[in-house]
């Protein structure tokens, strides 16, 4: 037996070395990443053995991979041993009502403008709040349960619905998919699980607010949404982080499975801390989001408004496997100051008569770099597949960059793929026209940019659209001299 194999054997077959036994009550794992940390996380969450093994497989695979270098972004080398991979809020909440929520956490939510009570009252939104990796409160669960809808934290789902998790975990984004997906698979701490049974139309928007709280903690949440035949759901994800000096890594995975005739709409508003004017601090947002239209006529629609993060690297994708299935991607990405974004989508057409639409609006200000990167792939058997892509970039200021990198791969002669892209600046004549009507230059830019993004905002649920517009204004602050 070679030395390597011996080590491997030792590690995989020996009992868990209780190296952390004294720490087991602690709320944070020590810094760094090794198999013991993976075991620690799994143990913390009292996970079944199969899940621990899955995590370990992912971890070992991750060790063989290297960070992707192809995105059009640059940042200092990440020290993966300098990150805390698990942290839980001090008080472990077992709440029966929102009133029992930690007042401090509540205050944070209020600051973010997403008061749970308000949300409940206003829109009937069920919120699964995730603070530093552990789900603290799920609302409306009972109402949903009556319809057979499961909406809970990922950890709970592992215990209460192991058969579903076992069936779907990694079925859309396998742990071998990419560097960050492998990392997430090894160390994911929590996330949301959502299951809509056959023929059920979810009566309310489901929503998760993610937030990175303590310093130096990476957040690795994992979301899984399964819509059975004919089911429908609209899912909202909002992300916010308070100001921090250190760069923080965020590597989430979202998987969506849409069966025959099912319809899943996933909306994101992301405004994590982008760092200061000089590019100090801010979140590294390296996310893998993918859905699969498994059955015929299934539909998955992604809408994202990305205004935050120092670096954004994400490509919400759809695999169009079922015939007549539909994939959509609507995106607004704003970068200001030193922010960098490399974002877009992949539409993989496998089934016949599949259709996809891509609408991407990039806005660059300050000294930021904003790239659209997208793949439209039409497989050999995807007869009569259709894609239309529109990717526009808007530049504000002469120190920023706007880039478009679409890949169109077509291998079926009955397919039709169309891509259009434009790059321009906010027109001086447009600003002057607004000025002449009494509107200041800053407000004019806001107005014009909002108009430019309207096509995407229209896809968002009402409350989200309003928030997105507000965020856009905040992001554009100081972009015009």
């Amino acid at each position: 037996m070679s030395e390597d194999l011996k080590i491997l054997d030792e590690v995989t077959n020996s009992d868990y070395k209780w190296g952390f036994v004294s720490n087991i009550e602690s709320d944070n794992a020590p810094k760094g990443l090794n198999e013991d940390i993976v075991r620690f996380i799994s143990l913390k969450k009292s996970e079944p053995e199969w899940l621990l093994q899955w995590r370990l497989k992912a971890f070992r695979h991750w060790l063989t991979m290297t960070e992707p270098k192809w995105p059009n972004v640059s940042y200092p080398e990440i020290d993966f041993q300098d990150i805390i991979y698990y942290s839980a809020p001090k008080k472990k909440p077992t709440l029966n009502s929102l009133d029992e929520l930690d007042p401090e956490i509540k205050a944070t939510f209020d600051k973010l403008g997403i008061s749970l009570i308000e949300q409940q009252r206003l829109a009937g939104v069920a919120v699964d709040a995730v603070i530093d990796s552990v789900s603290v409160k799920t609302t409306f669960r009972e109402t949903l349960a009556e319809l057979g809808i499961i909406f809970c934290s990922f950890s709970e789902a592992v215990h209460d619905h192991p058969e579903l998790i076992k069936k779907y975990l990694g079925s859309v984004v396998p742990y071998t998919d990419n560097f960050y997906a492998a990392l997430n698979s090894a160390v994911f701490s929590d996330g949301s699980f959502c299951y809509i049974p056959k023929g059920v139309r979810c009566p309310m928007e489901l929503s998760t607010y993610f937030r990175i709280n303590s310093a130096g903690t990476g957040q690795f949440e994992r979301t899984l949404i399964v819509a059975e035949e004919g089911a429908q759901v609209s899912y909202l994800e909002g992300c916010t982080a308070p100001m921090r000096d250190e760069n923080q890594l965020h590597a989430a995975v979202v998987e969506i499975v849409s069966h025959t005739d099912a319809n899943v709409k996933y909306s994101t508003v992301q405004n994590w801390y982008p760092g200061d004017k000089n590019g100090k601090g801010g979140i590294y947002n390296f996310v893998t989001k993918r859905g699969i239209c498994l059955g015929d006529r299934a539909k998955i629609s992604w809408t994202q408004v990305e205004t935050g993060s120092a670096i954004t690297w994400k490509y919400p994708s759809v695999i169009l496997k079922g015939d007549y299935s539909i994939g959509e991607f609507y995106s607004v990405a704003v970068t200001n100051n030193m922010q960098q974004a490399d974002t877009g989508t992949k539409m993989i057409h496998l089934g016949k008569n599949t259709r996809s639409v891509i609408v991407s609006k990039g806005i660059s200000c300050g000294r930021s770099q904003n790239s659209y990167r997208g793949l439209v792939k039409i497989g050999k058997n995807a007869s009569y597949a259709r894609n239309f892509s529109q990717c526009d970039s808007l530049l504000i200021g002469d120190k920023c960059g706007a880039h478009t990198f679409p890949y169109l791969e077509v291998a079926n002669k009955t397919a039709k793929v169309e891509h259009e892209a434009t790059t321009s600046k906010v027109g001086e004549d447009q600003i002057f026209y607004c000025n002449q009507r009494g509107i200041s230059t800053e407000d004019a830019v806001n107005l014009i940019v909002n108009g430019y993004c309207k096509e995407v905002f229209n896809q968002l649920p009402m409350e989200f659209a309003v928030e997105a517009q507000k965020l856009l204004s905040i992001s554009l602050e100081g972009s015009v001299g």
């Binding site: 027109g427 447009q430 002057f432 002449q436 009507r437 009494g438 509107i439 014009i448 108009g451 430019y452």
Partner: protein, 252 residues
Amino acid sequence: MLSIKNLQAAVEGKQILNGLNFEVKPGEVHAIMGPNGSGKSTLASVLAGREEYEVSGGSVSFLGTDLLEMSPEDRARAGLFLAFQYPVEIPGVSNANFLKTAVNEIRKARGEEILDSKAFLKLMNEKMKLVEMDKAMTQRSVNEGFSGGEKKRNEIFQMAMLEPKLSILDETDSGLDIDALRIVSNGVNALRTPDRSFIVITHYQRLLDYIVPDFVHVLYKGRIVKSGTKDLALELEEKGYDWIKEEIAVGA
């Protein structure tokens, strides 16, 4: 209300206005005519504060303050309105949203209360009738996909909404058929009050049949070379500009 003294202005290094003098009192309607390239649109642009136009001399006082020192939005807030010759398109921004922002900015500047959505809608419905505008047009993006006539009507509609003290209509009649011309003119006439003034820049006497001016001026080589009543417009329509050019040549 408006007092222009010895105004000189250039664009892209080319001198256009050469010592222009001009006075507008409350309630007056002045028509400015003149051959192509005489400086009519330059005057409108300088008054509205377009940056590409460089003022090299002279002064402009508007309601007692130095207009040239003000930013374009402050001029608008002070009550100066320009109906653009070529209104720009702003995709994705609805007319209603655009106007609500503008109306409230101007109200803020005047120290008036901001209109809520209901009050704004009421005002809009009222003013829309003035220019026989379709409700659907307020929901369309500003000027996007509008016909030439619709754009000009939209300019007058905005004027009605913003209630300016001095309006400059820069060739608002160009490209309008007779029906559109009538609608636009009716809109303007409905806004005429003893304290509101208008400067109507045009090529054609035709417009002045509908919007009857108190004074008609001829602008030539960046200066006002002849002033008169509405009869002067008729004379110009009949005889063209050559006789005025000759008059100046003889005079000089």
